[in-house]
Symmetry: C2
Subunit: 606 residues, 2 copies
């Protein structure tokens, strides 16, 4: 199988054997789909990813965006790949059929997008960013705005961006200063300096639709004074076609460590006083509107981290099966063995598998919760899914990006000196994935969001719902083990027991943190990143038990390489729970004791 | 203070307040030195590193070595910096005064070299590689060889390389195939393809002295048939000056992830049958001779990893003290605070400090053991130091490179999105440092060396000697705490207790691994990397307690910023022992149980 076919097989397991995506087809929203249309979408994505995205992976890194004084220069392969993506309907994957969309569940769309991300995450970003902008306009826009912008975005004729950061305001969005002055025609004059704008300028499409956070004159300070504006690169003529240039000037391109297929721009809005934008949604409610997109983007980041980790894993595995080096015994006359035979190499591969497939499971689970939140029958089911999704969103973003990049580090190590060269893709995976811990809110911000907001924000209802699901899985695993029909029963039972203990300890730590947060929030929040790792491992441990359970059931009917696939799942489950989750338990003691703290360390001592 | 001055201050602590480098001056070898000459050497290194190495850090990365068909192209600043390094005598830092060397202790020389590595590790590599080649020629060479090569190398007129790897033999040196055919004049015709040759070609110096591992015709297979040869790029004329080109052809340059200031070459020896070399040392004993250099290089790698980690830490600290973002409370009217005030940023800084300064302590401790092994009075003292050095060498290489790179990862995170741009040095530090886990023997190889060879190789005598030193430090820390004169006494006592428990558990795990190694070596060695991390953390924990003890004593006489320095040491000790060493204890259980193993995972399941 090709690498992308391997990823495709993995996605079929995650979506169809684990998440029950076909079960979504019972919901009215997806009634026009059948399992075969979902499978066809994945197959189309695999084909285009293999033919258009993978071949320019290295080229899009080597020829990073440049500016010749007039235009952004990009390899032609980038535009061609994105054209194929858009023409196959993938920007509109989740959108209404009435709008020309595929109306796929987000979980299945994410599966498709994941194949492109594995092949070339940096150039894929232009497309899914555009899908996110289309979502916001569809939800927040007036009928006229939807008519003007949505078809162009969904067809990929225009691409979109999200414009938040300013030089003095990165993590602290409340400090944004860009201004919006009402004009007599109902539009706004936008003025401000923005940076780190992904896809902020290029000539791939005939227009670019910027969604810009700015402050209407006289608005309150802080995040409550932010509004959202549509600011096109070329102003629209009355017939909706791009006309004269808007006053959005490229102030510079940012040269990055990786992710070089995407432009990252500094943009000046209204330097000449001629930048006009339209308000999107209600005044002063721009942050909430932007967060609709941001939350989706965070799941997308987690998905991308998982897929790049998986890409590194597959590259390392292929190498380890081919490369012959060393022997198992001391007889120098024997032929060398493939390095996958060496225990330390196998450990590194198994760890990558456990992290990457665990991360993928988490990202798709979040997308599936989004599907239920939006489209489940019954308000209670929708609300429950929404609560779980809110709780898990920062985890998908931060855990996946942190441990996905750690998996990519192991891929380099498997290749040895070759892994450090640009002749193999693994160093680029490592550089590309490193961005994911930073953009769409740094991982530190995600950890504060989880511990400071999400965990206790609803009196712990979301965590309670999650713990209930975990307990159900544990009970199912024990029941399957009690059935005693499988050779894997022992592993399943012992790992179910281990997971149960881990979640009991987690509950205890959360109670302790709850007290600490009431007593001294700053001190309690100092442990936010430790908590993120522990919580993420506990959640992914649960998803691995689910994967192990599904694999155990499937193994009863499988033979040959199909059976190998499921045995690999059981091995990775065991590896994750034993070598990742168990050692992580040591963090409980640290988190329950907030007496000593980095806060007691005077910055002058550093 | 400038960054290099900060590093210099740290080195003075490590060498003069912790290791007692001045105590080495009592040994005959160093009798001509005084504390002031050691300090002067460090000062000279700081000045040249700041003036010549730091300014071209980014340029040497951006303009990586190229080949124009005739010559290797490198920025002129690289040659100029290395000229200043050599002219100040730093290549000859440890060599005999009679040979024109400074005759410094290796520990102090490493301190000097460390400043260059912090400023620009990639270009510094040309120089210390040359120092290593000079060492081998001095030790293994005939009088005539020493006369021909040593002065040129020590003066930096010629640079040196170590030439081991072949396409089919990286980690497995026993599979090297390059051949050496005796010639009538006593020299050898060398033939073979070599790659990953650091500094393998350039025009910085008028000649390059390759030390090449090859197999004399008819030699036994495996590592026992390898001999070492001096192969100059330009053959020497009878007067010793470089003459006609030797048959060493550049087959290509390797394009790397980082460390781009150094050429990494593929070289073909004897393609035209005209490559001649001289045997260095005895036939079939080439690997031992090369390992003299390799062991030094491994300590150098560990030192470099520590210094690049320290460079990242300082860059992140400077940024965190300047950059204002967010507030401690919710009042949006308040001015933003420097991000060092945020707990999560302070955690990341303190972790970097604990890892980088711990790694530095370990590298310099190894260099100091080398000084004692070579020059201590009394055979017993020399042998004891030698045993300890052998045990610790793989740890210096592997622990430092792994955790040094982890520290650099945190530096990126402190800078947020800016850390991902090439406008700041932290992304380059991360890329540069990543090589250190791979070259001079991958970290997996180091872990096998530690667990499979060094730990039990001398019936555990080295470990016994190390444990004894650890216990002495614990006793000293407890005595200092009992003195009760310091506010820090409580921390010192509790951390001494924690370290004692950790070492007790380590001893128990080592006993368990000893049994496992006898029963089933392959299964026991599968835990080698886990053991490396645990052992390294235990050793660095000990060195942190030593640092804490030295800081406690110094604090009694210190005030102002001098006192801040020592308080920072105590905070970092506490942080390392509490947040690094304590959680690492969870690995004991994993290591003591070898029942489940990656070896039970069939590669077909991956």
């Amino acid at each position: 199988m090709s690498t992308l076919a391997d990823h495709h097989r993995e996605l079929v397991f995650q979506l169809f054997e684990l998440l029950d995506a076909p079960g979504l087809l019972a919901l009215p929203r997806f009634a026009d789909h059948g399992a075969e249309t979902l499978r066809a979408a994945l197959q189309a994505a695999e084909t285009i990813a293999a033919e258009r995205f993978a071949p320019c992976h290295r080229a899009s890194d080597e020829h990073e965006p440049g500016f010749d004084g007039q235009r952004i220069t990009l390899p032609a392969s980038t535009g061609a790949a994105l054209r194929a993506f858009a023409d196959a309907g993938f920007i509109a994957a989740t959108h209404d059929a009435a709008d020309g969309g595929m109306q796929l569940p987000l979980s299945v769309a994410m599966g498709c997008w994941g194949l492109f991300k594995a092949a070339n995450i940096a150039i894929e970003a232009y497309a899914t960013l555009t899908a996110g902008v289309a979502d916001v306009i569809k939800t927040q826009g007036t009928a006229a705005q939807i008519e003007r912008y949505l078809p162009k975005l969904l067809a990929g004729h225009w691409f979109g961006t999200m414009v938040l950061t300013e030089p003095q305001a990165g993590s602290s969005l409340g400090d944004l200063r860009s201004s919006a002055t009402p004009q007599p025609d109902g539009r706004y004059a936008i003025r401000g300096r923005k940076l780190f704008i992904t896809a902020g300028d290029h000539q791939i499409t005939e227009n670019i639709v910027h969604l810009v956070l700015a402050r209407i004159d006289g608005a309150p300070p802080g995040v409550k004074g932010l509004s959202l504006f549509i600011v096109p690169k070329f102003k629209l003529r009355p017939d909706g076609s791009p006309g004269e240039r808007n006053d959005v000037a490229l102030a510079g391109l940012i040269h990055k460590l990786g992710f070089r297929g995407t432009t990252s721009a500094m943009l000046n809005f209204g330097e000449q006083g001629e930048c006009t934008g339209e308000l999107l949604g209600r005044p002063h409610e721009g942050l909430a509107a932007m967060f609709q997109m941001m939350n989706g983007a965070r799941i997308g980041v987690g998905l991308g981290s998982a897929m790049v980790a998986l890409a590194g894993y597959r590259a390392a595995l292929d190498y380890a099966r081919e490369r012959r080096q060393g022997r198992l015994g001391r007889d120098v006359q024997q032929a060398p063995v493939a390095i996958v035979e060496h225990a330390d190499v196998r450990r590194m591969l198994l760890t990558q598998k456990a992290l990457a497939e665990g991360a993928l499971s988490l990202a798709l689970h979040a997308a599936w919760l989004h599907d239920l939140q939006q489209h489940a029958s019954g308000r209670e089911a929708r609300e429950r899914a929404g609560r779980l999704l809110e709780l898990l969103t920062p985890v998908v973003k931060a855990w996946n990006s942190h441990f996905g990049t750690a998996a990519n580090d192991l891929a380099i190590q498997v290749l040895g000196g070759y892994g450090y060269t640009r002749d193999f893709p693994v160093e680029q995976h490592w550089r590309d994935n490193r961005l994911n811990a930073l953009h769409e809110g740094t991982n530190g911000i995600q950890a504060l969001d989880l511990l400071g907001r999400k965990l206790f924000g609803d009196d712990g209802a979301a965590f309670g719902a999650l713990a209930q699901e975990v307990n159900e899985t544990i009970a199912q695993a024990r029941a399957a083990a009690d059935g005693g029909l499988q050779a894997q029963a022992g592993v399943l039972a012992s790992q179910a027991g281990q997971l149960a203990e881990a979640w009991e300890a987690l509950g205890e730590t959360i109670r302790s943190l709850g007290h600490a947060l009431r007593d001294d929030p700053r001190r309690a929040l100092a442990g936010a990143w430790d908590f993120m790792q522990l919580f993420g491992h506990s959640v992914v441990g649960w998803l691995w038990l689910k994967q192990g359970l599904a694999a155990t059931r499937a193994l009863a009917q499988a033979e040959g390489s199909a059976a190998d696939f499921y045995r690999g799942k059981l091995a990775a489950m065991d590896h994750f729970l034993t070598t990742e989750l168990a050692p992580m338990q040591a963090r409980h003691a640290l988190l329950r004791c907030t007496e000593a703290s980095v806060l007691d360390v005077d910055p002058a001592w550093l």
